[in-house]
């Protein structure tokens, strides 16, 4: 690398001398200054004053960064946590949060800006070409590596000591077994849980959260109720998980009987009150965006829309299956009950579900 840098006439010759001598072999892989390119000089290359100014600018940026680090430390200690401040476009917020965030952000940003400014204005900007190294090593290096391998194999006795070799291969073959065994934790395979819910004949329908039995005369046309089976709390207690809450959630809606175009079974409504699963048949989001005027039910996740006046058929969006309907009636005391469980699996499709 003697006269290669000559095209850069601002290259410092002192620096060139100070570089350590390197072997010919490595030198060939170093980037070479490109030839045949017009090299434009920067102002900082030609004007020492400009270079000095750029140096001061970089130092200022780094200095400011240290100041902001100090601001961070001081505000962490000095600003009371409860102090509020109103900031434009942000609103009322914690003063300490704002100052900590801004000072920490600026402290690291200014180091970055300073480094870029330094590199662009002052560091060498020679255009270089870096050639790819050949992938294949030289013949003698190859031979040396092969010889080292042969010697190692001979010294270990891997070829001659059959007992060790076979037991080692056996151990390595056994080793993946735990990973296979751990797949067992994916199970046990579901039995009937995906097809059944807690709903069954004569179970009272109760409001969700408040768990009150419901009388049909308390439901005006256009009313929406999120409901559960009456025994949901005992089931959750027994199972120690929320699965049944996820499966048994239903919506109870009253519409004028003449508005009902179709249902999934004959007279599954009770005087215009219909009950549908609350779980979307697409990927199982709870749906309750009910538009009482259109009888449309909209899923907030992917905008599947179901028509509750028409058997819960999907009319828009990715859901392909209708919402399962629950047949309802009233008991002797006039409270709403289920006439039977769901007749098809609720929620999204699954592999073994069938048509």
């Amino acid at each position: 690398m003697t006269n290669n840098f000559d095209i850069n006439n601002t290259f410092d010759p002192d620096q060139e001398k100070s570089t350590t001598p390197i072997s010919k072999e490595i030198e060939t892989s170093l980037p070479k200054p490109a030839t045949g390119i017009d090299h434009y000089l920067r102002r900082t290359d030609t004007d020492p004053k400009a270079a000095k100014r750029a140096e001061r600018q970089v130092a200022t940026l780094f200095g400011l960064s240290s100041c902001f680090t100090l601001v961070f430390v001081i505000s962490f200690v000095a600003i009371p946590r409860e102090k509020k401040v109103s900031v434009f476009a942000i609103g009322v917020t914690s003063l300490q949060n704002i100052v900590l965030g801004v000072s920490f952000g600026l402290a690291i940003l200014l180091i970055g800006i300073g480094a870029i400014h330094w590199a662009k204005k002052l560091m060498s900007d020679v255009e270089v070409v870096q050639e790819r190294k050949p992938i294949q090593p030289k013949a003698e290096v190859q031979a040396e590596a092969l010889e080292a391998f042969r010697v190692g194999a001979e010294e270990s006795g891997f070829g001659s000591r059959k007992l060790i070799r076979r037991s080692l291969l056996g151990a390595l073959a056994m080793f993946p077994l735990p990973f296979l065994i751990m797949l067992r934790d994916l199970g046990p395979a579901p039995k009937g849980e995906l097809r059944t819910t807690a709903w069954q004949e004569d179970l009272h329908i109760v409001t969700d959260i408040t768990y009150q039995k419901i009388r049909p005369e308390d439901i005006p046309v256009g009313n929406l109720i999120s409901a559960m089976p009456e025994n949901i709390l005992e089931i959750l207690e027994e199972q120690q998980n929320l699965n049944e809450r996820g499966k048994s959630a239903i919506l109870l809606v009253r519409m004028r009987p003449e508005d009902i175009k179709s249902q999934q079974g004959p007279d599954w409504d009770y005087q215009g009150i219909v009950a549908y699963s609350k779980i979307c048949t697409h990927v199982g989001c709870p749906i309750a965006l009910y538009e009482q005027r259109t009888h449309h039910l909209l899923c907030p996740c992917h905008q599947s829309t179901f028509d509750l006046a028409d058997s819960g058929q999907p009319i828009f969006g990715p859901a392909a299956r209708r919402l399962p309907q629950l047949a309802i009636t009233v008991d002797d005391e006039g409270y709403l009950i289920a006439r039977q469980g769901f007749q098809e699996p609720v929620g999204p499709s699954f592999w073994e579900r069938g048509a």
Partner: protein
């Protein structure tokens, strides 16, 4: 003249002119609109609420809802909506409607509280419907439980009005409005009457205590601060993602351009 000519050739000129034109048209429209809309009707104090309401109704509502509230092609039948529905619609400024559309929007009310109550009393004579909740029922929220309200809100309200009450989109241009501006009385009345697309949550199936708890929770939501700074509308990942994509990646692109730019 030459200064104006020069200005026309400037880059921002067309935008400025557009804004100016928009301002003139909108201010002019609102001025004319105020002239033709009756701000309030003058009625003697000796008249009863119902006769007051009947006069107001004939003047401001009958053109769409019919002289006896029987409904026309422009407005629904009011025979069984009840006083609570009228108070909700009129006190939130939704009625009278500015223009027909997918969604009636909240705006400055056209009638004062007294006139609104008179209108409600008159419409209540058309047929049975939920009455305006009593002062005690409305103020009950001050004693209600926030955590219970939160549970009920997430089960019954959050699907449309969003977890923070910011509202959200429905189908065909309809939407669930933000709850930030709704008064406790309006929230109560909306649950009772199911305005527009909203279903009804009757007092028997969502008890007055549950309604009070929900109102309490909404009041807590409205006064809660944002310790982390900008709330970005509290609508979840959409605005947060948009902010990151536009501002975050935008800044990165600007820095990349700067790093790659040629130095003179």
């Amino acid at each position: 003249m030459s200064a104006l000519y020069k200005f026309r050739r400037r880059r921002g000129a067309s935008v400025l002119v557009l804004f100016f034109a928009l301002a003139v048209v909108s201010l002019g429209y609102s001025g004319v609109n105020n002239l033709i809309t009756p701000a309030s009707a003058r009625i003697g104090s000796e008249e009863t609420l119902v006769t007051k309401g009947s006069a107001l109704f004939a003047e401001g509502c009958s053109s769409c809802h019919g002289l006896n509230g029987q409904g026309t092609s422009d407005g629904p039948n009011l025979s069984a909506v009840g006083a609570a529905a009228v108070h909700f619609q009129v006190s939130s400024g939704r009625m009278p409607m500015a223009a027909p559309g997918a969604q009636v929007m909240r705006k400055k009310p056209s009638y004062n509280e007294e006139e609104t109550i008179a209108l409600a009393a008159y419409v209540a004579t058309f047929g049975p419907g939920p009455a305006i909740p009593s002062e005690e029922q409305i103020n009950e929220w001050q004693n209600a439980s926030v955590s219970e309200g939160g549970e009920l809100f997430r089960t019954n309200c959050a699907q449309c009005h969003n977890f923070a009450g910011s509202g959200g989109a429905l189908t065909n241009g309809k939407y669930a409005p933000s709850l930030n501006l709704a008064t406790p009385q309006q929230i109560y009345e909306a649950m009772l009457t199911g305005p527009q697309s909203m279903p009804i949550f009757s007092d028997k199936t969502l008890t007055p205590e549950s309604k009070a708890a929900i109102i309490r929770y909404i009041q807590e939501l409205n006064k809660s601060e944002n310790p982390g700074g900008m709330d970005l509308g509290r609508v979840g990942p959409v605005t947060e993602g948009l902010f990151l994509w536009v501002i975050g990646i935008g800044v990165l692109i600007i820095f990349s351009i700067w790093i790659g730019a040629r130095v003179r």
